[in-house]
Symmetry: C2
Subunit: 192 residues, 2 copies
DNA sequence: CGATTCTTTGAAAACAGTCAATCTGTGTGG
DNA sequence: CCACACAGATTGACTGTTTTCAAAGAATCG
């Protein structure tokens, strides 16, 4: 399980073994079974979380009870609520395991200390942030400029493995349309 | 004009005067009149750009000729196309001055060198990235979860100064609805 | 197998987009 | 200073898309 994280880091940067081990010494191992929660609405999120295996979703629930999926995080991705972490405010989101999931948690203070101490790690972390930002921008662009059908096609194109791993109504929620609409879009599309 | 930048940096970090001056020594001053472009679709974006005064918008144009506004950047904000800058690929976006605008440009290489050399500056830059990320996330959340009316109200609430500075049809474009729909939403709302 | 979750389908209503015309306000040049 | 041009906003009529609610059909899991 720690091996997954080691491999991930080694693929991204050439960190000295001892730095890697120091980082790992702060990792808290957390295992979730399907449908368990890593974070629940109203709680303050205090970690950086790396998914070693499994699959997690981040979503909010509005006052009508409708869920809105902000993110899917499979193995080798990070998850959490940056806003709650930064401002130490109650989270608006829930993070739920969609499969049995193994996670490494790093406490905020430990993580910041490691960033300050190990500058290669700091760079790596900022690179991830940079990539996440590009991903959000691209999602915003598709939100404001595409038709529902194109939003769906674009999602499948960009995240084929996720598209195969989650129920269709969750894709609908992620792209911001109702499950019925997505079902109809798909049945229309196959008629061609 | 350089004063604006100095003030901005001093508000965010306590950089030694000499570091600040070194940074400034790489700044390229650019002035745009209203309707002039900082970047045009198809060109590769090679800078980091700080707006000292004025106001700029980033938008794409789809195949129907409809514009989609990705961003508004007033004074004391950064602008550019991170994707084009990072990957050195032609930009999908246009950046146009909505008012006469004064900008400081930093070449990619210079900027990266300054980040490497001046670690406080690096931290500052990463903080800005972090904030931009939070802003995007919040925009995505409103894109996928709000009604058109609430998207508009939310925009005005979050960016009151921008809402007062741009024509209404640009707000419509930013939130992803047609100008006519926004007009109708507003007239409905005042009837209460 | 039975229970639950997921997907599909139908019909009606709400919502949003399109196109074209008109109205409003602003600023520029004669 | 006025008239005109221009950009922006509004409105109407129409069309198309999406949501909603309800019910039924498939698929999956324990």
């Amino acid at each position: 399980m720690l091996e997954v994280f080691k491999k991930y880091i080694n693929d991204k940067a050439s960190l000295p073994e001892e730095d890697l081990n120091e980082i790992l010494s702060y990792a808290i191992i957390k295992k979730l079974r399907r449908r368990q929660f890593l974070l629940q609405e109203g709680d303050i999120w205090r970690y950086n979380a790396f998914i070693c295996s499994g699959f997690v979703r981040t979503y909010s629930v509005d006052d009508k009870g409708t869920e809105h999926i902000m993110n899917f995080s499979p193995e080798n991705y990070w998850t959490g609520d940056r806003e709650s972490l930064t401002n130490e405010t109650p989270s608006k989101f829930n993070i739920e395991a969609l499969e049995n999931t193994e996670i490494l948690l790093f406490k905020k203070e430990d993580f910041e200390m490691l960033c300050r101490k190990i500058s290669l790690f700091n760079n790596l972390v900022n690179n991830i942030l940079h990539k996440s930002f590009l991903t959000s921008q691209s999602r915003i662009h598709s939100n404001i400029s595409l038709t529902s059908e194109d939003k769906y096609n674009n999602f499948v194109l960009k995240f084929p493995t996720i598209a195969n791993r989650v129920p269709q109504h969750m894709i609908a929620s992620y792209i911001g349309i109702s499950p019925e609409t997505l079902s109809r879009i798909r049945s229309q599309a196959t008629k061609k």
